[in-house]
């Protein structure tokens, strides 16, 4: 990781909503600290309502914090909004936010103009982005006829139209098909290779693991842990579960005795689910089941909630560098 000034620095950042006479106050961000070096791809992983989008909005200056400070590229998001806006490109997830009655090119030309591009420079940037996102052939079609995935690609192109040094991607793969999601991972790697800093919010552990240099787990407005993706991979394999049908009782007993097996549950009418809690436990369970002649076996990766419950719960609030 390059040893330079941080691209994003967040200190004691706090944001609440509501809190008037009629509404209960909701804490969206609870005094969080986060430092992201320039050139890093950083994942924010957490369930809905964790505070991921709130952080992206504050960093992109469209939301004011209630307290604390945040800087992007060295500029304060409250006091130096113009400088921050020149440095940041943001992509919000979902289909909304495009001018659907205009063509893809017209959309990008408008946004490019808002980033100060004119004339030939504007045309070249728009052409390059249309090409990069595979939209050249559809550039002159109205966006309302685009598929969800194409709209999302156009969103990504829009986010890069200002040639930002810091790219905020808020659930950008929402609605993408698997092929497009795969292409998206390549894009994030390209952004990293170009020296841009990327903050990516996602629900998807596998996606975070595939593209991020570090990942922060967020929940309830707090950053619970910041880890390298290799650690995520460990969590995923450690907390995998195995399901099987028609397992003999003796084999169930053997499974229970295996190191790393946390529990074996009966799933009526004829299945069992084996929950593991150690890195090598799932392969050992699979071997034992196959050796016992059990043919109907499947594995499942842990949900984010499982990881929170089992990993974060164990680790407390420690943040790893």
């Amino acid at each position: 990781m390059p040893d330079t000034d941080p691209a994003i620095r967040v200190e004691r950042l706090h944001r609440t909503f509501g809190g008037g006479r009629r509404r209960r106050e909701t804490v969206a961000l609870d005094h969080i600290d986060l430092t992201i070096p320039a050139g890093e791809v950083h994942g924010l992983l957490g369930p809905n309502g964790a505070g991921k989008t709130t952080l992206c909005k504050i960093l992109s200056t469209v939301l004011l914090p209630t307290g604390g400070t945040a800087t992007v590229d060295g500029h304060d998001v409250v006091r130096e909004t113009a400088a921050v806006r020149r440095s940041v490109g943001i992509v919000f997830g979902g289909e909304r936010g495009l001018y659907t009655r205009l063509t893809a090119r017209a959309n990008l030309e408008f946004w490019a103009a808002l980033y100060g591009l004119r004339g030939r420079g504007l045309s070249q940037r728009v052409d390059a982005l249309l090409e990069r996102f595979g939209l050249t052939d559809r550039a002159h079609e109205r966006v309302e006829g685009f598929s969800r995935g194409m709209k999302q690609r156009l969103h990504l192109a829009r986010g890069l139209v200002g040639d930002p040094r810091v790219v905020l991607l808020d659930e950008p793969t929402t609605g993408m098909d698997p092929v497009a999601a795969h292409d998206f991972r390549d894009l994030v790697r390209e952004l990293r290779a170009e020296g841009r800093t990327v903050l990516l919010t996602t629900h998807d552990m596998a996606e975070a693991e595939a593209v991020c240099d570090r990942v922060s787990l967020v929940d309830g407005g707090r950053i619970l842990a910041t880890e390298r993706p290799a650690t995520l991979g460990t969590w995923i394999s450690r907390y995998a579960s195995v399901e099987a049908r028609d397992v003999p009782p003796s084999t169930v007993d053997e499974l229970r005795a295996l190191p790393g097996v946390r529990a074996v549950h009966h799933v009526p009418p004829d299945r069992i689910r084996v929950e593991t809690g150690a890195e090598d436990a799932a392969p050992a369970v699979l071997r034992l089941l196959v050796d016992a002649g059990v043919g109907d076996v499947s594995t499942a990766l842990p949900s984010l909630a499982d990881v929170y419950l089992h990993v974060i719960g164990d680790r407390g609030m420690r943040v790893n560098k």
């Binding site: 992109s60 469209v62 004011l64 943001i90 919000f92 936010g97 495009l98 009655r101 808002l114 980033y115």
Partner: protein, 254 residues
């Protein structure tokens, strides 16, 4: 440059939004109604009034219903946050877009004149074309400033639609659009003079009429001054509106 970007964008988008051009559909129809009334009453001398009124109504309607809704429409479209997040001045972009809507709404003048000629064979001559052109230009600028203010107010108003609807006819009256302000009760004269449209409609009617137009510059100054006040208030209100939405976290609420 932000205003220019907004201006160009709006000119590009408007042809794809027939719903935004409704005022231009109704303008020639209203011209026919007003002309039929004046002709039936034997007042051919009021033909100028009959063609000016629909044009001014189109100008006001598009400012109110299209330009005034720009910010709220961006919010509904989910693009307001991304717009605010660009380095461009948001207020300047909106004013540029409002100016484009106002420019297009001036087609109402052409339509009204053509409808009068095509259906009734009435050619309304403009006796003082320079005064007329200057008044149209300054009125359009004033309208753009006023519409900017409306767009900021509407995005902060929960019942913007009701508010919009209620602003149509009172302003046709106060603006002397159909009936000259001088024909209204005295107590309405003072508030009507705070509405730039009342100065515009009087001056336009005088420019069409053959008699000498008096006090052109002060009257143009009144339109420009009131329009400038509207523009300043609009820019300030837009800035305040965005700041408020950023503070409350409702910029992205549809």
């Amino acid at each position: 440059m932000s205003a220019l970007a907004g201006f160009r964008f709006q000119l590009r988008e408007l042809p794809h939004r027939p719903d935004h051009l409704l005022a231009l559909v109704t303008a020639p129809l209203m011209t026919l109604v007003f002309l039929a009334i004046t002709r039936h009453a034997g007042r051919a001398d009021l033909a100028g009034h009959a063609v000016l009124a629909p044009a001014l109504i189109a100008l006001w309607q598009m400012a109110l219903l299209v330009a005034g809704e720009l910010v709220a429409a961006e919010r509904e479209n989910g693009s307001l946050e991304a717009l605010v997040a660009t380095p461009s001045s948001f207020a300047a972009v909106i004013i540029g877009r409002v100016a484009a809507v106002t420019l297009v709404s001036l087609l109402g003048f052409v339509e009204a004149w053509l409808a009068a000629w095509a259906v009734f064979g009435v050619v309304v001559t403009v006796a003082h074309p320079v005064v007329f052109a200057a008044t149209v230009l300054v009125s359009a600028l004033a309208m753009a400033g006023t519409a900017g203010l409306m767009s900021a107010v509407f995005v902060l108003t929960r019942s913007a639609r009701t508010f919009q609807n209620s602003l149509s006819y009172p302003f046709y009256v106060l603006g002397g659009v159909i009936v000259p302000v001088s024909l209204l009760p005295d107590w309405l004269a003072a508030p009507s003079r705070a509405v730039f449209l009342s100065w515009s409609s009087d001056l336009l009617r005088d420019a069409v009429d053959a008699s000498t137009v008096e006090g052109v510059l002060p009257r143009l100054g009144a339109i420009a001054g009131l329009g400038f006040l509207g523009l300043c208030a609009g820019l300030l209100a837009l800035r305040r509106a965005v700041d408020r939405l950023r503070r409350t976290g409702t910029l992205g609420h549809a």
